[in-house]
């Protein structure tokens, strides 16, 4: 009825393989972009940026990264927190070593360094699969956190063992440090998220994405039709870690400003991002957004409803949140393993026929 593809004919393969083949979707995408870039920066304030928008944008990048590895290539990883830490520390070292270089370059380089580390820790995936690989990446998680705690060079020998983001700018606009305006940090993260999402989409709809999915669905058949499993798995680890590294760099430099590695990038972070990917939908870029939005919004909504509306004590609401997230994950795994993205797909299919389903 209001969502339809009738009359929307494609006359070239190019038109047919675009990201949003249906006009309705395409225009909605433009509207979302216009609002995100053109309206929100003017009405944003510190509370909105720090409580909702920045964590959403950054977690969405991390979720896209992890989704490429787990959802598209089928390699389970529990090392996301560790890889985010690599991005954060790489960014920190670059920021302090080259203070005059633009933050854009620092963040991109941090992603690149994380990609290399990701490939190193991805090497075991050539021999082991499933749970065993998950355990191997878990080792990466603990090793990396341990490394950043124990080797003082990484935190520039600071007494506290923390890393603090110095004030850095992009084209004269301060992006990091306490004086950064909310709109600037928001836009900075938004630009990275947009770029990451477009890159991820391009990769997953093309040859690379197909080799990843082939490895995920049936690695033996993939090899026989010409997929080099070594290359496919390692590119997945590299691209995934690149995104996760960018997310880690932004999380540290733009969002938090100061980081103690064990607290911020511990195993909880790995699980949080994994939950986002599972709840949002494995193997879907949109799902990464949905999952990140869901898990960032949920605590805020619960807090508003529980504390402000119902007047419950804060700690009960905080505990309730854990219960609800846990229950939701179990529910999703049982009822809809493909997550919010699949619910959205089903809703669209229903809407095509609504209100005359027969």
């Amino acid at each position: 009825m209001f969502y339809r593809e009738a009359g929307d004919f494609k006359v070239s393969y190019r038109d047919d393989s675009q990201t949003f083949p249906i006009k309705f979707d395409r225009y909605r995408y433009y509207v979302v972009l216009a609002v995100a870039f053109g309206i929100i920066p003017f009405i944003i304030n510190d509370y909105w940026a720090n409580a909702l928008l920045l964590p959403f944008l950054i977690y969405a990048i991390a979720a896209i990264g992890l989704n490429i590895l787990v959802g598209y290539c089928g390699q389970v990883s529990l090392g996301t927190g560790g890889f985010m830490a690599v991005g954060a520390y790489a960014c920190y070292k670059l920021m302090t070593a080259f203070p005059d270089v633009s933050m854009f370059i620092h963040v991109l380089l941090a992603g690149g360094i994380t990609a290399i580390v990701g490939v190193l820790f991805g090497l075991p995936s050539l021999r082991i699969k499933g749970f065993y690989l998950a355990v191997a990446t878990l080792a990466a998680q603990f090793f990396l956190v341990w490394l950043f705690n124990r080797v003082p060079w990484f935190y520039n020998y600071s007494a506290s063992g923390q890393i603090n983001a110095p004030e850095r700018d992009v084209f004269g606009i301060i992006i990091t440090g306490p004086n950064a305006p909310a709109w600037a940090t928001y836009l900075f993260c938004l630009i990275f998220l947009t770029l990451c999402a477009i890159l991820a989409r391009n990769l997953t709809r093309g040859t690379t994405g197909r080799t990843w999915m082939a490895i995920r669905d049936m690695d033996i058949a993939a090899e026989i039709i010409g997929v080099n499993p070594l290359k496919a798995k390692l590119t997945a680890f590299a691209v995934s870690s690149f995104f996760v590294g960018i997310a880690g760099a932004l999380f540290f430099a733009v969002y938090l400003g100061a980081v103690e590695v064990g607290e911020v990038f511990g195993i909880q972070k790995s699980f949080l991002v994994l939950f986002m990917v599972i709840i949002g939908g494995l193997g879907s870029i949109f799902g990464s957004f949905a999952g990140a939005a869901f898990l960032v919004l949920l605590p805020v909504v619960l807090k508003v409803v529980g504390v402000d509306v119902l007047g419950w004590p804060t700690d009960i609401v905080a505990h309730l949140q854990l219960v609800i997230v846990g229950a939701l994950i179990v529910m999703f795994l049982i009822l809809e393993p493909h997550g919010l993205a699949q619910l959205w797909r089903v809703a669209k299919e229903k809407l095509r026929l609504w209100p005359f389903p027969h």
């Binding site: 393989s17 990769l203 033996i220 058949a221 090899e223 039709i225 997929v227 080099n228």
Partner: protein, 272 residues
Amino acid sequence: MLDNSEEYVTEDGRKIGGVVMEMKNITLRFGGVVAIKDISFDIREGEIRAIIGPNGAGKSSMLNVISGFYVPQEGEVWFHGSKRPPMRPYDVARQGIARTFQNIALFEGMSVLDNVMTGRLNYMKTNILQQAIWRGKAEAEETKNREAVEKMIDFLEIQHIRKTPVSRLPYGLKKRVELARALAAEPKLLLLDEPMAGMNVEEKEDMSRFILDVNDEFGTTIALIEHDMGVVMDLSDRVVVMDYGKKIGDGTPHEVRNNQEVIDAYLGVSHD
């Protein structure tokens, strides 16, 4: 030395070309089990070559040797006049050998179109950066290969399901999609592992027609394993018969049918 020049005329008068693939004294062992024992045979250009035999005869193992999945302990594989060193399956695919599987090995999470597109992997030359940018080279390559893939989709009459996830398709269609994926690679040699297993008569007729059409229109050399004797005798130009890892017959369908050893293997022989 291989003799590539020799023309060969099959019993129904079809001319087929020189030898494209030759298996020389292949022996394949899994620990103490000998799956293939000293087998030699050849595949000629443009022919339909059947490999038959009772269950456990080593037919699928033979196909796996050809497609590089197993490396035989002894023997040589000659392809297009040169000896093939032991290589990984994806390198064999690059040489122009494609195959389908006994138990359908499609990528269940992907659409039919994406599945068939994976068959074109060997024609994809852009690197990961170009693909990430998409505009330009990667897009042009995608469009070009899409055209080739659509031809195969058209040929196998699966246009109506091209956007459907494979996991939703019925068995017969899946078999056809798998054939499309193998054909999309435009292989020089196509290996079919029981293309008609589990099909009803109608589907078998469809599949037989497709196999003959492929051989006819694209000139593809085909090696197939099949249990339905009627189909094998009708389709194939030459037949290899295996039993317990040994070759017990090789020749035209007519010759094989009258081979005493083959009859014994299939019908059993009294041991008195």
